[in-house]
């Protein structure tokens, strides 16, 4: 359940940011999570509900944007969506692929009053 540690970090960051923007209540939190992170969306929603109880984030909506895994061929630099780890570069068939997106674990923005 790394989801719980991730949510606790989200709540800490938002609580720290709120006074800077004179906010007392948070209504929405938007995340960007890469598919490599193996984060379970249902566990995130459930954990968010539990962890935010009796905090200014209670009842806030949690939005998760999933970022697909993008690879770049080490040889020809072609960028493509990685569907299987066994895929070679679809353009030049080179086997070594660098991951350039899909490891995100970010708060994109939040809203409040």
């Amino acid at each position: 359940m790394h989801e719980l540690s991730i949510i606790e970090s989200i709540v800490d960051i938002v609580l720290e940011e709120m006074p800077k923007h004179n906010l007392t209540k948070v209504t929405k939190v938007s995340l960007r999570i890469g598919d490599m992170r193996q984060v379970v969306p249902d566990a995130m929603q459930f954990g968010f509900e539990v962890v935010t109880k009796n905090t200014p984030l209670e009842d806030a909506e949690l939005l998760i944007e999933h970022i697909p895994i993008t690879g770049q061929c080490e040889k020809c630099k072609h960028e493509f969506l990685v569907k299987s780890w066994l895929d070679n570069c679809p353009r030049c068939e080179h086997p070594n692929i660098q991951i350039i997106a899909g490891k995100e674990l970010e708060i994109a923005e939040f809203e409040g009053t």
Partner: protein, 223 residues
């Protein structure tokens, strides 16, 4: 009331990364090489660590941090080698993080240490997410777990510098395609170094020990 939008774009694990950076700095000042050992439960981490210590302890001073949800079995087993050891009980958390490592700093003597081995909580998912200030990550995959694990748990294979394919002595009794493990691990992480070992019997350990020795020497003498 109109809602105010606050654009942030902030790494969620930033707080842990910051503590890990501080830990790394501390370990660097003390010239202690730190390796984070990860695997599923029962892959043989404690046995491998125990035999690694026994092979290196005449040459180097070694400390161990044992991470488990509960119990002190592993720390007791490591203590038999004579190495300094601290047990962390996470109480439920499925991984170690930078803070937990930092909490052990007053319980270990880093001035008398060349190598710190951190045995993470047994789990193929979560430990890969959390830095702790280590120099490198090594993972174990024991062959009874099956040859499908690289594709099932790619992040850990992606984050590890070393893969120890463990319990290789059981190969005659187990259906497991070791070449497939190697091929698919390299596909996920072309840089990963792979050793076939038996932590218990000692097969193949020389290459692993040589790698540790070389890295300890580099850390002791960064020039």
């Amino acid at each position: 009331m109109i809602a105010i939008k606050v654009p942030l774009v902030k790494n969620i694990l930033e707080a842990n990364d910051k503590i890990s950076d501080l830990n790394k700095k501390f370990f660097d000042e003390k010239n202690v090489l730190v390796v984070n050992i990860m695997s599923s439960p029962g892959a043989g981490k404690t046995t491998l660590i125990s035999n690694t210590i026994n092979a290196l302890k005449d040459e180097f001073k070694i400390g161990v941090i044992e991470g488990d949800i509960q119990s002190t079995y592993d720390a007791e087993k490591i203590a038999e080698t004579g190495a300094q050891v601290v047990q962390i009980n996470t109480g439920g958390a499925c991984h170690l993080d930078g803070n937990m490592i930092r909490d052990t700093f007053d319980q270990l003597d880093f001035d008398n240490m060349d190598l710190l081995i951190v045995e993470n909580v047994g789990n193929l998912v979560c430990p890969a997410e959390f830095q702790m200030g280590e120099d490198f990550k090594a993972m174990l995959l024991s062959i009874p777990e099956g040859d499908d694990k690289p594709l099932k748990y790619p992040l850990m294979f992606h984050e590890s510098s070393v893969l120890l394919i463990n319990k290789i002595d059981l190969l005659p009794y187990i259906e497991c395609d070791v070449e497939k493990i190697k091929r698919e691990s390299k596909k996920i992480n072309p840089e990963i170094e792979i050793f076939e070992v038996s932590g218990k019997v000692g097969t193949g350990l020389v290459r692993w020990l040589n790698l540790l020795k070389e890295k300890i020497r580099q850390k002791n003498d960064p020039k």
